[in-house]
């Protein structure tokens, strides 16, 4: 046996393929890496701390591995699938009913796709929290964001292929968002003069005015060829940049990548495969009734990773929720490394601790409090919205608690009313004004005139004032403005009363209950106190962050500060609007139906 092995190893054929010996020695360890085109993406040696599992959790590598799994299972599935509306659904049925391991294959492709979306997002969170996007890796973060977008688009295009009701209507939701794009969408605002149903963004996406065979072939080509092609190119750039810029963590002695890193990668891949196998054996990929354009499921839900956006449709016009906000999210993510000039926190996980923020001490991230809090708030908001869209929305997109059974006969609907536009403008104005900093020259001038405490006092007065204006702009119209739906008849003299009929707006029914049970005078007085408390709380927040804002402005300069503050205020504004609707029953803060401008 050994002699045969010896002989084979000496043949010309063997030597032409394998160029080095495999006995473990420092020399072969290096040769394994740079003598192999695939492993060559690794450096030969790497810092020991960087390959600790708890530093990266292997999320980037696992995402890449899942991409490979998806490619392989996808190629196998392509042997059985024909992208035509008469055949597609039947081919999918055939997979589970007649093809050997066909159902298993489809399950694996489906679950791996879901898992990849999760790991890519978590990879991004990890990179953020370890500051691995900071110079010189800014551009690779941008490439990473593009890869995230492409992952979602790959998943979305694949969603249509089974050609069942789930697929058709999930894709319809997305296509409808395209139709609502500003300028280019047939149903969006500011439509360009040459746009019609025949050439708008929706037409480009679905290849026609309705979702049919043309859409199927379009999505098939996008899913199997076009997007993977682009994805591979960007992936190459991404991985090559990681190799060139090296790991963000450089401490610890250097160790050989073979076997230390390669073995970890292998075990991670094994583990992921085991998880996918179990998942695919235990759970079948969903397949509903064959696609039918004439019957819409109620509710029609987008794929889960887009349910956050679909949930936003509740709070804003489709073009804002479906086009402007996602664009802002993507652009905002890409902008992060360019506006975050804080050099701290590279190569270490962000930590939490007690820190002085303004007049108080808060449990906040220690080194990059603002960046980490805002980013994590955004991520959590994204997942909370997805949770709401998945588990809290039933027929007619009504709110159902996860433990409530859905009913197609439910009568109670949430009563909603618009704030009068004038008050809406006041609210928005005060809100966005609260982002203005006081630049250093102005502060110095104030201190020179009114003593060292003057800038602080002025800032405090400004913020408390703005807080009270915001509170007033929410509560006063609720309490006094006539119901806009019944201006002439004045069925309910105030917006408040008309909303008070609704049991689903908790804050309003609370205040309304006071007025009703304690009597108007005491009730309105208590409501007034709530306004003061609300405004005061907002003001206190403003004071707490006032100094920080000024410092941020001094550090970043006008342009970067404006970008950061605009993105931050818009994100918090989305949160505020959600609260206004869910707690106060406010439909739109500001509404210009003529321009489809409703926020």
């Amino acid at each position: 046996m050994t002699s045969v092995k010896q002989y084979v190893k000496k043949t010309k054929v063997w030597k032409s393929i394998f160029r080095h010996d495999f006995a473990d020695s420092p020399r072969t360890r290096l040769q394994r890496i740079f003598g192999n085109v695939f492993l060559h993406l690794h450096p030969v040696r790497i810092a020991k701390d960087a390959i600790r599992v708890t530093y990266t959790w292997g999320l980037g590598g696992i995402s890449f591995y899942l991409f490979l799994v998806l490619t392989v299972t996808g190629i196998l599935l392509m042997f059985y699938y024909r992208p035509a509306s008469a055949l597609a659904y039947r081919d999918i049925k055939d997979l589970s009913f007649a093809v050997t391991l066909g159902g298993f294959l489809r399950n694996m492709h489906r679950w791996a796709a879901h898992l990849m979306v999760v790991t890519v997002i978590f990879h991004m969170v990890r990179v953020f929290l370890t500051g691995a996007y900071k110079p010189p890796r800014e551009y690779n973060w941008v490439v990473g964001v593009l890869l995230l977008v492409m992952t979602l688009f790959l998943s979305y295009t694949g969603y249509l292929l089974p050609w069942d009701q789930l697929a058709l209507w999930a894709v319809t939701v997305g296509a409808q968002m395209a139709a609502n794009s500003p300028l280019l969408g047939n149903e969006g605002p500011f439509m360009l003069p040459f746009i019609s149903t025949q050439n708008d963004a929706r037409f480009v996406l679905v290849g026609g005015t309705v979702i049919n065979d043309a859409t199927l072939i379009r999505f098939y080509v996008l899913h199997c060829i076009a997007v993977p092609f682009l994805f591979t190119i960007f992936l190459a750039v991404h991985l090559w940049r990681v190799r060139k810029d090296s790991f963000s963590l450089q401490t610890g002695e250097k160790v050989d990548v073979w076997p230390h890193l390669v073995s970890r990668e292998f075990v991670a891949a094994l583990l992921v495969t085991v998880i996918l196998f179990v998942w695919s054996i235990v759970m079948e990929a969903p397949l509903e009734a064959e696609a039918n354009l004439n019957v819409t499921p109620n509710p029609s839900k987008a794929p889960w990773y887009f349910l956050g956006l679909q949930e936003l449709l509740v709070y804003f016009d489709p073009w804002i929720a479906g086009v402007v906000l996602p664009t802002l999210i993507i652009v905002g993510l890409m902008a992060i490394p360019y506006v975050d000039t804080n050099p701290k926190g590279v190569g270490v996980w962000a930590r939490m601790g007690w820190q002085r923020v303004g007049p108080t001490r808060l449990w906040v991230p220690t080194e990059r409090p603002f960046a980490v809090s805002v980013f994590m708030l955004g991520v959590i908001m994204w997942f909370v919205l997805i949770f709401i869209g998945t588990y809290d929305r039933g027929p007619n997109w009504e709110w159902y608690w996860p433990w409530e059974p859905w009913s197609y006969r439910r009568l109670t609907k949430m009563t909603l009313k618009n704030l009068p536009n004038l008050w809406g403008l006041v609210l928005l104005g005060a809100y966005f004004l609260s982002g203005t900093p006081v630049p250093k020259p102005v502060r110095d001038q104030m201190a020179a005139r009114g003593g060292p405490k003057a800038p602080g006092l002025a800032s405090a007065a400004l913020h408390v004032g703005l807080g009270l204006v915001i509170a007033a702009a929410i509560f006063i119209p609720l309490l006094t403005a006539p119901d806009p739906d019944y201006p002439a008849r004045s069925r309910y003299p105030t917006l408040f009363e008309s909303l008070g009929r609704s049991v689903n707006a908790p804050m309003v029914s609370l205040l309304y209950g006071w007025v009703k049970h304690v009597g108007p005078a005491a009730g309105y007085a208590m409501s007034g106190l709530v306004v003061l408390a609300f405004g005061g709380a907002l003001g206190a927040l403003g004071i707490a962050f006032g100094k920080f804002k000024d410092r941020l402005y001094d550090e970043l300069g006008l342009i970067k500060y404006s970008v950061v503050m605009a993105l931050f205020l818009m994100m918090m504004g989305v949160l505020g609007k959600i609260m206004l609707r869910l707690l106060f029953g406010v439909k739109y803060v500001f509404s210009l139906p003529q321009f489809n401008f409703n926020i």
């Binding site: 007649a98 054996i281 009734a289």
Partner: protein, 413 residues
């Protein structure tokens, strides 16, 4: 550590793959086939092929794999007494060769499936339930446009069709181009999507399929659609009446027959080579204008709302005259001197019906306009018939089943 992980994970992976493969190769149908083959001797087995059996029906856009388990359907000499090994009864397979017709065209269910539960349509998201027992007659009409020609084979279907006309369903429901538009068009009710039935399913116990829905709807029309009384509504919303469909007290076998007929009203669109067109309606000679008028009265479904022979007793929420569709026994008293006015009411209809309480919504039933549907000749006969009604005795219990809320079925929530 890594070595252990590596070994354990590789082992687990191999085991899982073997498990998946075993699950895949040891499917339900393999057990049935093994059991069946076990009962045969060597000579009988000759020529039998194992594996998934399928009939490809390109014309019908179907693949039927039923014979994978129902192995002896077309082999009576090998068939056993138990399912799924029985042979197909009767001569039906001689008239409908399986290689041309397959199975699901008649029997419903999911032909492409290879597992019993899925194949019989007892799974979510498959909206073609298996037509068990005599319900299978519903499928005949998809091809046999002239069902009268095969009447002896489809008694239940014929009975259902007759009942549909007899009970006056056409008075409110249209099928193809005949019938009124007071309520839903039933042309494709046998293919109605389950997504449109969600609200009704909520009022029924499972199984939630079209067959059970139709039966419930026929037996207790108002329980699926009980309406919303004013006191349960938020302020400002208008009350919703229960379903206006009269409760005509159908017997069990009548419900079965009507269900069969309604299931036959599908959107199936089979190639012309499979289909025979419906025959013309036979011309009938009437003994008298009154007989002619009675036939018109029944043909157009006046019975459903005005009761058999115009005896009344059918509920119409919030309608004048005691929340009832007016009986026609007193037509002569009202219109005896002014036949033209009676004709106008029939021609133009009366929409909406006058209300009893003006603060409540319009009554759900109303007299539709008949001018484009009933010819002048038929109208004259109808009027003659209506004027003759006063001669009749007051309706007895058997001629007019009272339309009161009957005891609801047990599973009404």
């Amino acid at each position: 550590m890594k070595r252990v992980l590596f070994t354990v994970l590789t082992g687990a992976l191999t085991a899982l793959f073997v498990l998946a493969l075993a699950k895949d190769t040891n499917r339900e149908w393999t057990r049935y086939q093994r059991k069946f083959l076990g009962t045969l001797d060597r000579a009988e087995r000759r020529g039998l092929r194992g594996g998934i059996q399928q009939i490809l029906l390109d014309d019908l856009n179907r693949v039927d794999r039923c014979t994978t388990c129902h192995v002896a359907v077309d082999k009576p000499q090998l068939a056993l007494a138990e399912e799924p090994f029985k042979a197909h009864p009767g001569k039906l397979l001689d008239w409908h060769p399986p290689e041309t017709f397959g199975c699901t065209v008649c029997h419903g269910g999911q032909g492409i499936a290879s597992e019993a539960k899925a194949a019989h349509g007892d799974v979510p998201h498959w909206e073609e339930p298996l037509l068990r027992g005599p319900l299978v007659q519903a499928s005949c009409r998809s091809c046999h446009g002239n069902v009268e020609a095969i009447a002896e084979h489809v008694p239940l279907l014929i009975k259902g069709m007759t009942l549909f006309e007899e009970k006056g369903c056409y008075g409110c429901h249209a099928v193809k181009d005949f019938g009124q538009t007071v309520s839903q068009d039933l042309t494709e009710v046998g293919s109605k999507s389950y997504l449109l039935l969600e609200a009704d399913f909520e009022m029924m116990r499972p199984p939630h399929d079209r067959i059970h829905w139709l039966k419930r709807k026929l037996a207790h029309p108002r329980t699926l659609n009980p309406g919303v009384p004013q006191d349960r509504l938020p302020e400002g919303e208008e009350e919703v009446f229960p379903s206006a469909m009269p409760h005509v007290g159908l017997a069990e076998d009548e419900i079965e027959a009507l269900t069969t007929y309604l299931l036959s009203l599908t959107d199936a669109d089979y190639p012309a080579s499979y289909v025979t067109p419906p025959g013309p309606r036979p011309a009938v000679a009437y003994a008298s204008p009154i007989e002619h008028g009675r036939a018109v009265f029944e043909r157009y479904g006046c019975t459903a709302c005005h009761g058999p022979g115009g005896s009344g007793g059918r509920m119409n929420f919030n309608a004048g005259l005691g929340q009832e569709v007016p009986p026609l026994l007193y037509v002569k008293a009202y219109y005896g001197n002014n036949v033209e006015a009676l004709k106008t009411v029939i021609r133009e209809g009366r929409q909406p019906a006058p209300r009893q309480d003006v603060t409540r919504p319009n009554p759900p039933l109303y007299m539709p306009a008949w001018k484009d549907r009933i010819s002048e000749e038929d109208l004259d006969a109808l009027v003659a018939y209506l004027l003759s009604l006063h001669d009749r005795v007051a309706p007895s219990a058997e001629s007019a089943p009272a339309d009161v809320a009957s005891a609801p079925p047990a599973d009404v929530p």
